[in-house]
């Protein structure tokens, strides 16, 4: 290489730079080449490729979230095969409810929902308060939906499925972002997000408001205000600390059951704090300790209307409930050789529920769990996964939930997976706190006294195929499954006493159910500007339905198509079509008829204002009046304007 003779001006530039402008830290030296990088893809941050997961998994990323146009997080699960999204109103106001394979009633749906490893399942009845969900859509990095039981990997409650929200690392938010929606049906939303940081300490904060009027003919308006924050401190190359905290406060208009349930507004407040310390040398070696606290309070003290049956007297009533949860978990990942990767850990949790209407004292539930998982690359083509969780709780003692999976690569990019998993659903505080019933019919609900409730169990077997065609940008996966569920806990009757509440009178392990079917998804990117997501499911449930309706609780057929395209560099357009056949959810539901719904979104990026966009979304374009959960929950067309900007 010929030695370059530089003109004296180069010398002058170097001299000037050295003396005046460029700070020493920004001067190019060998340091720029030898910088020590902190472990970014760590043991917990490593995302398993879909061909290597032990369970069928659907990942929803920001692109899909934006394309869907959803303003409500629960709506996103329409995109996942086997999922049903519905809305319940009559209990505590407008409440979305998300089911996988049906089997869900108005309070819960037997799935586990986590935000960064923090369980969002309400300790009273195990459900998820989607209306009070403390997470802004824009703060989602991705959502991992594990379609199948996975106690070993995802802990207590990962019964039918697990939804794991992974939020954005604090370094992913910079400056100030503002967004909002305003539209029909009283829709008014706003979010402000800010992020910054220096020297390895990053933070992000979000404040938001959401409001809408719910169903057209019902007084079920709701509002939500929330503030959440996350800080990530990269202590050194291997150690990182994540801190999160948030509060929400929301109102729901309720009161539909009659004079003993007068129209009123209930206020729900929640708060959480979470800390996770992680040491990770690389993607295969690390350990972490996580602690979190979560509090939920539903304030509902009211006076009934004059009751004709009681001399038109009015009665005060307190339907308040308060729930606390503390959870501590340790986890370690390590490898023994190039082909064996191990994860093991342990955790303790305490749930506390105070529900004066039905529990005379605060009920506590202590749960301890031990879990482990091994990934063994037997050969290049054969990957074996085995895991188990052992759980002990105050109510039902000790149980084990094992799972195994074998992934076989037929040819590169095409994998077939065989998996068998057993999981259990721990009874919640309320379920275990109410009276058992005594019925002695053979094969019928078992006789138990309060405290004898057993966990529900599921044994799920599935054969899946996962395929990728990189040359055509297509990925797909299809799963055929056969699941056996036992000891499903049925909630029987409604609490007596006066006035009657929506809480059950009894709980018992009752029905079994068999579910089988096929479900799958396909993602195709025909051009870099266009993406297409297709999902579909067909399934059947068989059950004796002694304590509740299970056999019709999932639609026999469902499908969803979402197409998104970037046109002329500044226009984003997307449309989605959802079709679902008739079904009837468990619990106190009405049959829901089959329907087809079309949504549309159009957004324009403003080139003169970097990061700004305006647009509109129409949900239920053809104004299909299908019903959600009860006959008086009638869907309608809703539209709103949306904008977002960066400062």
């Amino acid at each position: 290489m010929p030695q370059a003779r530089r003109a004296p001006i180069a010398c002058a530039l170097v001299c000037v730079a050295g003396h005046f402008g460029i700070a020493p830290a920004q001067e190019l030296s060998e340091r720029a080449f030898l910088i020590e990088f902190p472990t970014v893809v760590s043991a917990s941050g490593l995302r398993q490729n879909a061909t290597e997961t032990p369970q069928a998994i659907t990942v929803i990323d920001q692109q899909m979230i934006k394309a869907s146009g959803a303003r409500e997080i629960a709506e996103l699960f329409r995109l996942v095969p086997g999922f049903t999204v519905s809305y319940v109103t009559y209990v505590k106001g407008l409440q979305p409810i998300v089911y996988y394979h049906g089997l869900g009633r108005e309070f819960f749906s037997r799935i586990q929902v986590l935000i960064d490893g923090r369980s969002m399942n309400n300790a009273t009845l195990g459900g998820i308060d989607w209306s009070q969900f403390p997470l802004a859509m824009e703060d989602i990095d991705r959502i991992e939906v594990i379609r199948g039981p996975s106690n070993a990997a995802h802990g207590i409650g990962a019964f039918l499925a697990t939804i794991n929200f992974v939020t954005k690392h604090a370094s992913q938010v910079r400056g100030v972002d503002v967004s909002g929606n305003a539209g029909t049906n009283g829709i008014l939303d706003g979010t402000v997000r800010a992020g910054g940081g220096a020297g390895g300490f990053e933070y992000r904060m979000t404040a938001g408001h959401r409001a809408d009027n719910g169903f057209p003919n019902l007084a079920d308006s709701r509002t939500l205000d929330y503030v959440t924050g996350r800080a990530d401190w990269q202590i050194n190359r291997t150690d990182a600390l994540m801190l999160q905290a948030g509060v929400t406060s929301g109102t729901n208009d309720v009161g539909f059951r009659g004079p003993d349930d007068p129209g009123r507004s209930v206020r729900t407040t929640t708060g959480y704090a979470q800390a996770r310390w992680e040491r990770s040398h690389d993607a295969d070696n690390g350990l972490s300790i996580q602690f979190y606290y979560y509090r939920f309070n539903l304030a509902d003290a009211f006076i009934t209307d004059p009751l004709p049956a009681f001399n038109n007297e009015r009665f005060p009533f307190d339907d308040t409930s308060t729930v606390d949860r503390i959870d501590l978990e340790f986890q370690q990942t390590f490898t023994t050789g190039p082909d064996l990767r191990w994860v093991w850990g342990a955790g303790v949790r305490q749930d506390r529920a105070e529900v004066p209407a039905i529990l005379s004292v605060a009920e506590k539930l202590n749960i301890q769990r031990l879990f482990g998982h091994v990934e063994w690359r037997i050969t290049d083509k054969l990957l074996f996964n085995a895991g188990a969780m052992v759980e002990h709780n105050d109510i039902s003692g000790t149980d084990t939930a094992p799972q195994v999976a074998l992934n076989y690569t037929i040819v590169p990019n095409h994998v077939v997976r065989f998996s068998v998993a057993k999981a259990l659903r721990t009874p919640t505080v309320i379920e275990s706190g109410v009276q058992g019933i005594t019925v002695g019919v053979q094969g019928g609900p078992r006789s138990l006294s309060g405290g004898g409730l057993q966990p529900e169990t599921i044994l799920s077997s599935a054969i899946s195929y996962v395929g990728e065609w990189p040359q055509w940008n297509i990925t797909t996966d299809v799963k055929v499954f056969y699941d056996t569920l036992d000891d499903l806990i049925g909630l029987v009757g409604v609490q007596g006493g006066f006035p009657p509440t929506a809480y059950p009178r009894n709980a018992a392990n009752g029905d079994s159910a068999r579910q089988q079917g096929i479900e799958g998804q396909l993602v195709w990117r025909p051009t870099p500007q266009t993406t297409l997501w297709l999902s579909g499911a067909h399934m059947e449930t068989r059950s004796a339905d002694q304590l509740d309706n299970y056999s019709r609780s999932a639609p026999r057929n469902s499908g969803h198509l979402l197409v998104a395209s970037r046109i002329a560099e500044t226009w984003d357009v997307s449309a989605s079509v959802q079709a679902q056949s008739a079904f009837r959810a468990s619990g106190l539901s009405d049959p829901q008829r089959g329907f087809c719904r079309v949504d549309f979104r159009l957004v324009k990026h403003l080139p003169w204002w970097n990061g700004a966009q305006v647009g509109f979304v129409v949900e239920n374009v053809f104004d299909n009046h299908y019903t959600d959960y009860r006959n008086n929950n009638i869907a309608q067309r809703v539209a709103w304007l949306t904008f977002s900007a960066k400062f």
Partner: protein
């Protein structure tokens, strides 16, 4: 007792004196450091380079070659003797090169100087300050990898990725033309964003990643430094865009693969140049890029992204490609001592 024994035999006195003088002479001549290694700072990596140089050069001249290792600070403060007496100076890092070249200006016949671990940009700037006729006296082994080699690696390791995203800073922006030429030759599209402040990295990454299949990371203190390193890798991984890195540390942290010369490899090349000079060659060879390199792969990230990469095979193919295009460079072959695969 010995003194007494010697004293009794007076003829031993001159022998003792002669031995003493020879010892003193040996000490004095040994104090002339024949090779002076100047380190920019006393940092484990630098010491590793010095140790490798000692190991490679120690056997020369029947083991009588002396190698002194000092820091740049000493060079700045000491008198010029330490430089004047050396046959060869090896300056490791930018600070050392600057210190040595600065002080050599005060000498009438400064010794040959070889710079290691120095970015090409900085070396070219220093050389501009040296009087004409110094071509064979001052040379370097750059710490940068040649752009052509980097793009050859992209073709070998990621043949299906043809939209390459790059963020350049003030130092690396001078590479723009070379990057575009190399990309054009291989039918790749480049998405280049230039920033002048670290605070501009966030927006630059968002823009680049949205239009690229692969992110090529280039060293620059403004774009990739302690405050931006995490976010660069994190954002890319979040978007599932593979990163081509420039160091072993970066590959372990989460880059899919990387091209780099380890400290030992660079020291080895420096030692080879030094031994040729010390063996009598008239001057130093022209400044050159690293000859020995390593391709590292993060197998966990590879599996996560669904790709299969064999670091050893890619490294061999890359070396073969260079041998093919540079028949004069017969001394090739990659260093097998450094680990090929990030565990």
């Amino acid at each position: 007792m010995i003194v007494a024994a010697i004293g009794r035999r007076l003829w031993t006195v001159p022998i003792v004196w002669a031995l003493g003088l020879m010892l003193a002479a040996a000490v004095v001549t040994g104090a002339n450091a024949q090779v002076l290694v100047v380190l920019s700072e006393d940092w484990p990596g630098m010491r590793e380079v010095a140790a490798e140089l000692r190991e490679q050069l120690g056997g020369l001249r029947d083991g009588r070659l002396t190698i002194d290792v000092v820091t740049a600070k000493r060079i700045k403060l000491d008198d010029l003797d330490i430089i004047r007496r050396s046959e060869l100076i090896i300056a490791v890092g930018v600070e050392a090169a600057r210190a040595v070249i600065d002080r050599e200006k005060d000498l009438s016949r400064p010794p040959p100087t070889l710079c290691l671990l120095i970015p090409k940009l900085r070396f070219d700037a220093f050389v501009g300050t040296i009087p004409a006729g110094s071509e064979r006296r001052v040379s370097a082994v750059f710490i940068d990898q040649p752009v052509a080699r980097q793009f050859n690696l992209l073709r070998l390791a990621a043949p299906t990725k043809s939209r390459i995203g790059i963020v350049l800073g003030p130092s690396s922006s001078r590479l723009q033309d070379e990057l575009r030429d190399n990309a054009r030759e291989r039918a790749m599209t480049l998405n280049i964003v230039i920033v002048d402040q670290p605070s501009g990295m966030f927006a630059a990454m968002q823009k680049t990643l949205s239009e690229s299949d692969l992110f090529l990371a280039l060293p620059d203190p403004v774009t990739i430094n302690e405050s931006t390193a995490y976010a660069v890798l994190r954002t890319s991984y979040q978007e599932q865009i593979p990163v081509a890195g420039f160091s072993e540390s970066m590959v372990r942290a989460g880059a899919l693969f990387g091209l780099y010369s380890t400290l030992r490899q660079q020291a080895r090349q420096g030692a080879e140049i030094a031994s040729r000079l010390l063996a009598g060659e008239a001057g130093l060879p022209p400044p050159q890029y690293p000859r020995y390199f390593t391709v590292g792969v993060n197998t966990s990230v590879a599996r996560s992204l669904g790709v299969q990469l064999d670091a050893g095979a890619i490294e061999a193919a890359l070396a073969a490609r260079e041998r093919g295009s540079n028949p004069r460079e017969t001394r090739t072959g990659t260093e097998a001592a450094a680990p090929r695969r990030t565990p």
